[in-house]
């Protein structure tokens, strides 16, 4: 008897697996309306490619971009990989090339790995603007301009200032940061000399910047790094984490362990709101990812229509502000916003 059961069940299973496979994709197909066939005469085709599509920070980044696209009457597709690696992102840069988009706004998942692919897109006539994360300085010719929050050093030194405020400029400090991430490395290199020169009573744990940096790429590793810091340096005064994942994890650990160490860094207001409201954290800062997406789209359109060409000194309008390109073909948004008990309620609903 059970032979018949197995035969019938496996036939049903096979049919459902096939249907499941197709059904599972059908909604996705409608969700991102492909641009072919419906290109209105004037409207542009812009691709918005994050490091990975399922991350909260980039959802906000995309919102900003879509707002600019609506204002510029362009069609913007939000496509990208589901894991943060150069190899995965390259597949979607190829899709942009094949589907002949006019402009590519991209946050580099790997500062080197995507450079050859970007150069192919550039040679295919696509205007490329990096936003939020740039390619390596040596390969800056593979994109027209890069829209970054603020001066690398400014982002680094600002976080040191916030920490100084929190521990009133005395005590040792450690850092939790993802390994092999270009932005974070640049900011940390800026923090090193600034702390020792500006705040004589403050110091890096272990006596040097190298020793003070603990590497962590995801929530689990960030929590373990927090524990490792306390284990090795029980009298550490403050921990800086220049990444939304790291600072959130540090806040969770500080609250769970009721640790005295002060925590600050770059955090999303929506994710950090409860920790600021309950006093676990006094101040964190971040630029508005919506602005990054918004300004990048305007930069791309300006470069496409000219005369703006991303040269150092040139400038382009975005919404009600204009941005000028500085050395390295980079346009900075300005100093990061800071969030404290006072303004967290207002910002946590925006991003």
């Amino acid at each position: 008897m059970n032979k018949k059961v197995v035969k019938r069940v496996s036939a049903v299973l096979f049919a459902s697996a096939l249907a499941f496979g197709l059904a599972g994709c059908a909604p996705a197909a409608e969700e991102t309306p492909t641009a072919e066939g419906t290109t209105a005469a004037a409207s542009l085709k812009i691709a918005i490619v994050p490091k990975a599509i399922n991350i909260g920070y980039f959802t906000a980044w995309n919102e900003g971009a879509q707002k600019a696209c609506a204002e510029l009457n362009a069609i913007c597709d939000y496509i990208g990989p589901n894991e943060i690696t150069g190899a995965a992102q390259v597949e979607f840069i190829n899709q942009v090339i094949q589907q002949q988009y006019d402009i590519l706004v991209i946050s580099a998942a790997d500062q080197n790995a995507i450079v050859p692919s970007l150069q192919k897109a550039r040679d295919a006539g696509i205007i490329i603007v990096t936003s939020d994360a740039d390619v390596a300085a040596e390969s800056k010719d593979s994109r027209v301009v890069s829209i970054l929050p603020s001066e690398e050093s400014r982002i680094g030194t600002a976080q040191v200032d916030w920490m100084a405020e929190a521990i009133d400029s005395t005590g040792s400090v450690a850092i939790i940061s993802p390994a092999n991430a270009a932005n974070q490395t640049a900011w940390i290199n800026a923090m090193g000399p600034y702390l020792t020169s500006q705040y004589p009573e403050m110091s890096w744990v272990g006596g040097s910047l190298e020793k003070a940096v603990f590497y962590a790429n995801d929530p689990t590793e960030s929590s373990e790094a927090f524990a490792a810091i306390l284990a090795q340096y029980p009298d550490v005064a403050g921990i800086i984490s220049p990444t939304t994942v790291g600072v959130l994890a540090a806040a969770v650990e500080k609250k769970a362990k009721r640790a005295a160490v002060k925590v600050t860094g770059l955090g999303l207001p929506s994710e950090m709101a409860s920790y600021i409201e309950d006093g676990t954290i006094e101040k964190i800062g971040l630029w508005n990812p919506l602005d990054l997406g918004y300004v990048a789209v305007y930069a791309g359109v300006a470069a496409l229509n000219g005369p703006f060409d991303g040269a150092v000194g040139s400038s382009f309008p975005a919404g009600d502000k204009t941005y000028t390109v500085v050395e390295g073909n980079i346009a900075y948004l300005g100093d990061p916003y800071t969030f404290t008990k006072e303004n967290i309620a207002e910002f946590k609903v925006i991003y």
């Binding site: 599509i53 399922n54 991350i55 909260g56 959802t59 589901n82 284990a231 969770v252 609250k255 709101a273």
Partner: protein, 325 residues
């Protein structure tokens, strides 16, 4: 022989020994390692991998493997936060988490037991499928502390006599699972199936039903473990649980749960999880640069596999050459 002496049989000894030697060794070199807060960090950090290792033991003992646990725990920790933020009660969301895990386990179990497919392939496929669905459902959303059920937040933050509640949950599960694996007939059948699958059929053990049962149990426990993960990180995103599956299998192997099936206990699996977690902190305390941590983990697992093989071959043979010599 009572429960504990049976559990402390030769298989778990190396894990315990390793645990003790590394703990004391690190402490001697860096006395601060003995501080209670470090011990607390080890126990706090190990809860998730320990619970997943307990669940994984059910299938490894039967000479099978379940790679889909990484996606299951990530997905359920996200679902619990998402659903409870929409007003569902804690009981309801935990039921959903267990059901989702059990459903994936049932699919795995059915394909392995009734269609005779290799468990490595089936659970590799469900690892992909569940992660794909999870990304689709959770696209762009992040679970933050405010969305996490209050009870879980409370559990995550508090301690009972200095021991984190999450670790206590893991220990309670270990004891319950340990008693079931040791005392219930269905669980003893798992060991028989793993030790000699063809003989298990002959003796009349309902092998297919047991395999399905084990995969459903592994799935359900992994699903519920999502709550522990959410309590631990009080946040969840589509990146949660990525890559946990190989770490969990490694913990089982280090804990004496033999890949060849038929032997090993949940007690050993938890020891393996603690050992791996402690190595992490020891490396930091010993001042070994962090970049060495993954390499040391790899070397430790090779050592454990070698020891596991050496132990299983050195068993007391009753002599072959005639009874008297």
């Amino acid at each position: 022989m009572n429960f504990f002496s049976r559990a402390l049989r030769i298989r778990e000894l190396p894990g315990l020994l390793g645990l003790f030697v590394i703990y004391v060794g690190t402490g001697l070199i860096n006395p601060r390692f003995f501080s209670p807060s470090v011990l607390n960090d080890i126990l706090y950090g190990v809860a998730i991998v320990a619970i997943l290792a307990i669940a994984q033991t059910f299938v490894i003992v039967m000479r099978h493997i379940d790679l889909s646990v990484g996606s299951v725990i990530g997905f359920t920790s996200f679902l619990i936060g998402d659903l409870s933020s929409q007003g569902y009660s804690l009981g309801a969301v935990l039921a959903v988490a267990a059901l989702v895990g059990a459903a994936v386990g049932a699919l795995n179990g059915f394909l392995v037991a009734y269609l005779g497919l290799p468990s490595l392939v089936v659970t590799l496929a469900t690892l992909y499928i569940v992660r794909g669905i999870f990304n689709q459902v959770g696209a762009g959303k992040t679970i933050v502390e405010s969305m996490v059920p209050k009870e879980l937040n409370w559990l995550g933050l508090n301690r009972l006599f200095g021991v984190p509640y999450l670790f206590i949950i893991a220990v309670v599960l270990m004891v319950v699972a340990g008693v079931i694996m040791h005392k219930s007939r269905a669980a003893r059948d798992l060991y028989a199936i793993g030790s000699n699958p063809s003989a298990a059929e002959l003796v009349g053990i309902p092998v297919k039903r047991r395999i399905l049962l084990a995969f459903v149990a592994t799935g359900a426990v992994s699903g519920l473990a999502g709550a522990v993960m959410l309590a631990r990180f009080s946040s969840a995103s589509t990146q949660s649980g990525l890559g946990l599956e190989l770490l969990v299998v490694a913990a089982c192997v280090v804990g004496g749960v033999s890949i060849a099936g038929g032997s090993g206990t949940v007690f050993g699996a938890v020891i393996g999880a603690i050992l791996l977690q402690q190595i992490l902190l020891s490396i930091g305390a010993l001042g070994i640069p962090q970049f060495w941590q993954l390499a040391v983990n790899g070397a430790l697992i090779i050592g454990a596999i070698g020891l596991d093989r050496y132990l299983s071959t050195r068993v007391k043979p009753s002599n072959i050459m005639g009874a008297e010599s």
